[in-house]
Amino acid sequence: MSSSAIEIPSNGSPKKFGVVVFPGSNCDHDAYYVLKNIFRQDVRFLWHKDSSLEGVDAVILPGGFSYGDYLRCGAIARFSPIMKEVVSFAGNGGMVMGICNGFQILCEAGLLPGSLLRNAALTFSCRYVHLRVENASTAFTSACAPGEVLKVPIAHGEGNYFADAETLDRLTRNNQIIFRYCDAGGSVTEEANPNGSIRNIAGIINERGNIMGMMPHPERASDPALRETDGAKIFLSAIGRLVGKTHLTQAII
């Protein structure tokens, strides 16, 4: 392994992250691992039946297949007791990040607009994709350069983002589309779209800027031992925002 270092923004004490665990979550440990061991934050699991967020500074809804994807992906998870707390936390401006199934849950819960349909090619797709950072001034992307291309893996069968034209126009107008699927050179093309998402949308943020959902898995591209570390920029952005640094320069060496 090459010697890699990650510079983590800090104001002296680690921030508290909560990773929600639903029955069927399977990326909860990945998120927990990177936050604790790579980013040195204070992390705890939050069980779906709990009704307290234990004073966390940010909530992660991880990837997986909550409730077996029964009915629709994320449809049943949104009614978990913990989600009531997440909705009120988010309503008070708390930072919430939904990854993959977490994004599906945020859409089902109405915290983000639109929904995720079956992939256009009908196949489960598990591979690296490229994402273009369309808005680098959010709490989740400030460690990225505008237009930067990130290499992050996807792993989903239902990641085909859909919203009606009016919603899409609003998202575009407000710069709420923060990641789009692109090729390695940063061109947003049909060939670079792995699932048929409308306008190549891979991740969006709410209007207030505190709730973000994305289909790709930044937690699977954060540990230097796995070589690809572009996903770290998303966590470092969030940590930076929590400790009061909104812009970071080169975070990963």
């Binding site: 049943i76 639109g114 929904s115």
Partner: protein, 82 residues
């Protein structure tokens, strides 16, 4: 007691890749007259109520709040006394 028979379908504006794949399979069986296959869900549930209006209200609420996602789906149902 009422039995609700609920059909949930993708909104017409939404592409149904699953339906399309099934249509291709049907065509490969020689039935190439088959057009526009759309897949949906069928749900049955019994509602413990003697009052039709109440059963209707419950079925409608269950569809709106959980069984269908209005972003992408429509629903319709019938109620029969059982």
């Amino acid at each position: 007691m009422y039995l609700a028979k609920i059909n949930i379908t993708l909104r017409t504006s939404i592409l149904d890749p699953q339906g399309k794949a099934v249509q291709h399979a049907i065509a490969s069986l020689g039935m190439d007259q088959v057009r526009d296959v759309r897949m949906g869900k069928y749900i049955e549930m019994k509602i413990s109520s003697a009052d039709r209006a109440e059963a209707d209200r419950i079925a409608s609420e269950a569809c709106k709040k959980l069984l269908a996602n209005p972003v992408m789906e429509n629903f319709h149902y019938t109620l029969e006394k059982v």
